[in-house]
């Protein structure tokens, strides 16, 4: 049976196909506590992104505003979003992202990280 199914499975997956973009990892890491405020948040996805329809925002969980710039797709890595940050004080921050992969599938997510001891 595997002799029949495996070639069928492989044939069904075109090499050039794209798919939903899942978050692969982030810097700072998801849920991490970092000692020093990071200058930026980097989000690395499993698929290349459409820059015009992908983005990220950041907010302090206690409601303090964070004047971050607009997130951009890294020119050297279209599967990465970069969000430049102003100097962050100690506290917990929530990053919310939305991603549209190059085949137009949309995904979204969020996570927190903490600056401080």
């Amino acid at each position: 049976m595997l002799r029949f199914l495996l070639p069928l499975a492989l044939a069904a997956v075109p090499a050039a196909a794209d798919a939903h973009a899942f978050l692969d990892h982030a810097v700072p890491p998801v849920g991490a506590t970092v000692a020093a405020a990071p200058p930026q948040v980097e989000l690395f996805f499993t698929q290349d992104l459409e820059p015009a329809f992908s983005g990220a925002t950041i907010a302090a969980v206690d409601g303090r505003p964070v004047a971050a710039g607009a997130a951009t797709v890294a020119p050297q890595n279209r599967a990465a979003l970069v969000l430049r940050l102003p100097p962050l004080s100690a506290g917990t921050y929530k990053v919310s992202w939305h991603a549209v992969s190059v085949d137009t599938h949309r995904t979204e997510g969020s996570f927190s990280f903490t600056v401080g001891p």
Binding site: A17, A19, H20, V61, H105
Partner: protein, 306 residues
Amino acid sequence: MTLPRATALGAACAVLAAPFLSTTAAAHGFAGERFFPATLLTDDPFVADELSLPTLTFDPTAADGSKTIDLDIDLSKRLTPDIGITLSQGWQHLKVPGMPGVTGLTGFSAELDWQFLRDAPHEASAVLGLHTSWAHTGRVQALGADDFTTLSPLVNFGKGFGDLPTTMPWLRPIAVTGNLSVDFPTKTESAGSPNPNNLNYGFAFEYSLEYLQHHVKDVGLSAPFDRMIPLVEMAFTTGLNRGAGGQTTGTIQPGVIWSGQYFQLGAEAIIPVNAASGHGLGAMLQLHFYLDDIFPNSIGKPLFGD
């Protein structure tokens, strides 16, 4: 319950659900940040363009001592972003004690679903549908196919717990899906045996390591573990009348699903819940393709309204 009453119940549910009608389209099993995999036993709370090829089931030994192996194919196709159909066909090997084994196609079934709820903030999703198992389909001579059609109005739902407070981080990867349906056979008896109405209900309790790793806390999981969803599924059928009232059969199925970019793999053990459900252990294996990811510009999108 009669069929007209069932129809009225479905209409009432639709009216009650109207305020929650989804207005955006999304393929796959997403509700906000939550990804619901296609579970092996519990019907999915979303419409999708997906293909199970195959689902291989080694059933526990039945109460009468017979053993079966099933190989099923299920094709789900969205007609619109919120309405989809599923066509199912199976092949079965049946061995009854003292008899030679027989094989053949099982009955054909079809299902029409309407996804009336897709609530992103609360990671909730639900469908109303009608499942139909058609009479006189399959290899009738070998397997004794039903001479009646069974209509089963259904509701499937899913809820992720990512909206729990951040003070409970380890519970946020949990999700529950479930289904509820009632069987209405078109003949009350066949060859002297009654065909009861049945109540079908089931649940899947999932713990998404993908959600944990990428939405809650990076705990250092790498492939393939960061795309795994351990789960326990359970499904029950309770007879409602015609001599079967109160009789319940069912299975509990612990297992794991790995979800990739284009397909997922699932494996579960099958544990009968009582003697009437069989004895011993069984197993279920599934290879499941995401057609919307594999063919995003052709058969992987809705026929209308995308």
